[in-house]
Amino acid sequence: MLAVAKVVIPSFSSGGGGANSCVRDNHLFCADWVSRNWSGVLQPALTQHIALTLIAISIGSAISLVLSLAAHRRGWLERPVIIVTGILFTIPSLALFQILVPSLGLTRANAEVALVSYTLLILFRNTLTGLREIPEEVREAARGMGMSQRQLLWRVELPLALPAIMAGLRIATVTVISLATVAAYVCNEGLGVPIFAGIQESVFKTEIIAAGALAIMLALASDALLVGIQRLLTPWARKHAV
């Protein structure tokens, strides 16, 4: 954002067309509008967007972890969970937000329920796959050395499933950041708000472009952050025979 401002402001002052010239002239992208509305519109929307995403991913991860651990112990659970979360995943997002309005109203809860439901399939599948890919001899050795079921889970199974869990988390996070723009349809929060405003104004497009670009950058940054966290948490995954 700073880079944009540095380039644009001098050209604006030399043009001498007044503060809102690019808005008046309806340029495709008006950097001046962005810098003027950063703290009032875009920055709060970005913060809300991050909050929406964090809450959805946290709740989704917790539910998926419980479901995948249950399905890992009792294999028959996998099919019903895949069917239900699969159906949730395929519901068009706009429709799902709308369907929830009668019960949850135009609230953040409505948005979160819908966002969480989109994370479940991805997180459940990845976590379960990660748990199932642990070599049987590793479990056998752990039990043979006297680990309890809980110690086996926390000291062996979850750490070894971590690469698969993190892979799921990356996909789910990018998905939620994208879908959360639609959440502005039911709650007045997130980067979707300036986008919807832009759509309604129908002529001036800078809001849509700026908010859309912010959503993309947020997704890229989150993904990079998660990759970094994964590398820190799984140093063993990158070591190979010397």
């Binding site: 070599p135 001899e137 590793v138 056998e140 043979g144 006297g146 750490p159 070591k239």
Partner: protein, 391 residues
């Protein structure tokens, strides 16, 4: 060692101080415990045949007992009954005089070293952390654990500074196997269970690991139950060998020499193989037999060290056209001569009583003693090619 109290909380094992971590003799290790299986049976629900039938045997403290048998003989199941990875149907198992059934299975397993064929090192933990698994479960403090890890790495000839922080993926197969053994030894267990520990290693490295393991065992003197399907490995590793037949029936439990000299029945004779006379020769070295004094005979140039097995000596005698060989001490002094006649006389002496007067013929099974059950399927089952999947 009866009533030996394992790992009483707060009890300090003598080895666990950092400054005395190396150069400790056998006495530094916790005493091994006697293991006794009393009429042990295992029957899986829904299966008509028993997996283990009325198995009784005693492993004296500090000895290696090899469980060997064809696929389906239940040797792995028998081993897993001991640390309660498989539950007993009837009978009892006593470790150091105490029934394993009275123990919490997790506490019991932390006192029993466990090595499996695929080793099962934790890929996400370093070599040091892998070895520290059981000490951590037992709640050892950090200095004691660190010292123990260091000591074990030296015991298995892996330099601690270099190897401690590696991950299993960075080790060779042989190194992984040794780390697996070190991990099993970490809490100084009085008993070790080893399920085909060298089964996945190539023949050359396997022989080396077997030798290493034997010299390790000479230092630590654990009671060891060792499962294999390979009779040659059993002969090499075992102080005693328990040969199991289909259904987990004990066919013979004896020293390697006894089993090779006097197989209890057709099944055992078939299982140990037609070349059991030759196998017996590999049990003794030239130092164990009375060599011929060199005067009078004119040996050819071939020389053989005193610690060669008699079997290797025979092989050299045959390739040398039967001429006597000179046996030498490590400092090249002549110890004596060995001839084909000498080796043949050795076998004849040993096997004469086994055959109950019949001519000793290593290719033919001897008469089963009264009471021994002969197994009609013995011939089919006697090919110890693969591990039984059910075990």
């Amino acid at each position: 060692m009866f009533g030996y109290d394992f790992f009483t909380p707060g009890r300090d094992l003598p080895l666990e101080t950092a400054d005395t971590a190396h150069n400790q003799g056998p006495s530094a290790f916790a005493q091994a415990a006697e293991l006794e299986l009393r009429s042990v049976s295992k029957r899986y629900p829904g299966q008509s045949a028993a997996a283990i039938s009325d198995l009784s045997l005693t492993v004296p403290a500090g000895e290696v007992c090899v469980l060997v048998g064809p696929s389906g003989s239940g040797k792995t199941t028998a081993m897993r009954l001991i640390n309660r990875m498989v539950s007993l149907s009837s009978g009892d198992i006593l470790l150091g005089g105490r029934s394993v059934l009275q123990r919490n299975p997790r506490d019991l397993r932390r006192e029993i070293g466990y090595v499996i064929q695929q080793i099962g090192l934790f890929p996400h933990l370093t070599v040091g952390e892998n070895i520290a698994t059981v000490p951590r479960l037992l709640g050892w403090d950090k200095p004691r654990t660190t010292a123990r890890v260091e000591q074990l790495l030296e015991l298995i000839d892996l330099p601690p500074a270099e190897m401690r922080d590696r991950y299993p993926a960075q080790l060779s197969g042989g190194q992984r196997q040794r780390v697996g053994v070190a991990r099993a030894l970490a809490a100084d267990p009085p008993l070790m269970l080893m399920d085909e520990p060298f089964g996945a290693i190539d023949p050359i490295n396997r022989a080396r690991l077997q030798d290493e393991f034997l010299s390790l065992q000479a230092k630590v003197r654990k009671t060891i139950v060792f499962v294999t399907h390979d009779i040659d490995e059993a002969i090499k590793m075992g102080d005693r060998i328990a040969i199991l037949r289909s259904g987990g029936v004990l066919a013979q439990y004896d020293t390697p020499a006894e089993i090779l000299t006097r197989p209890a029945d057709d099944f055992v004779a078939e299982f140990v193989g037609a070349d059991r006379a030759l196998k017996r020769l590999s049990l003794a070295t030239l130092a164990d037999i009375d060599l011929i004094a060199p005067n009078g005979l004119r040996p050819n140039n071939a020389r053989l060290p005193l610690d060669s097995t008699v079997r290797d000596a025979l092989s050299m005698l045959l390739t040398g056209g039967g001429a006597p060989l000179t046996v030498v001490h490590p400092d090249d002094r002549v110890a004596g001569l060995v001839t084909i006649d000498l080796v043949a006389a050795l076998l004849k002496d040993d096997s004469a009583p086994a055959a109950n007067g019949a001519a000793p013929d290593p290719g033919r099974a001897v008469q089963a003693p009264p009471g021994a059950v002969s197994d009609p399927d013995g011939a089919v089952q006697a090919h110890p090619l693969d591990e039984d999947p059910s075990a």
